[in-house]
Symmetry: C2
Subunit: 103 residues, 2 copies
Amino acid sequence: MIVTIVSIWVKEPFIERFIEATKDNHRHSVSEPGNLRFDVLRHQKEPNRFTLYEAYRTEQDVLDHKNTEHYRRWKTTVEEWMEKPREGVPHTVIAPEDPSLWK
Amino acid sequence: MIVTIVSIWVKEPFIERFIEATKDNHRHSVSEPGNLRFDVLRHQKEPNRFTLYEAYRTEQDVLDHKNTEHYRRWKTTVEEWMEKPREGVPHTVIAPEDPSLWK
C-alpha cells in the first residue's frame, strides 16, 4: 500500500470552484479498483490550504490513477488556481497492516 | 469530523521502538468509540519521519483520546525519541461527507 499526502494552496477567489472540482475527482477516484481511500480535507487554521489523502494498493495503481480522465481533468482545471505548485509526499503503511481494513 | 495529521521525526536509534509503541497506540485508538481512523505511515524519502492520520467524529472525541491511558502511555514513552516536537495539523472534512464511509 502507498499513501500520498498532497498539500495544496488555493488562491482565495477560486476556493469554491476548487472544492467542486476536487469533489468530482474524489467521486471518480474512489471507484478506481486500486484505490483504498481518497479523502479531501481543509486546514482549520489556513482555510486556503487543502490536503488530499490518497491510498492505493500498489505503485501501479498510483500510476493508473494519473492516467485516468478524471485525474487529468482535475489537474488541468485546478492548476491555475493554486498559489504555488502542490506538494505530494509518498508514504509506506505501518498500520493498519491488513489492506481489507483500508476499504 | 476532524482529521489531525501529525508529523513526527524520530531519532534513528529509537525507530524500531517508536514503531512498536505507535502500533500499540494504533490498536487501542481504533477501538475508541469516537475514532474513525488512526493510520500510521512512514515517509518513503525520509525514513525517520512518520505521519499519524487520526480521524474522529467530534472535537470531544479528540479530547477524549488525549485522556486515554494508551495515548498517555504512548506520549510519555516516545517523547524523548523525537528529534523535535511533533506537529499536529487539524483539518475539517470535505469528502467523503458521509461518516459511515470513514469506518
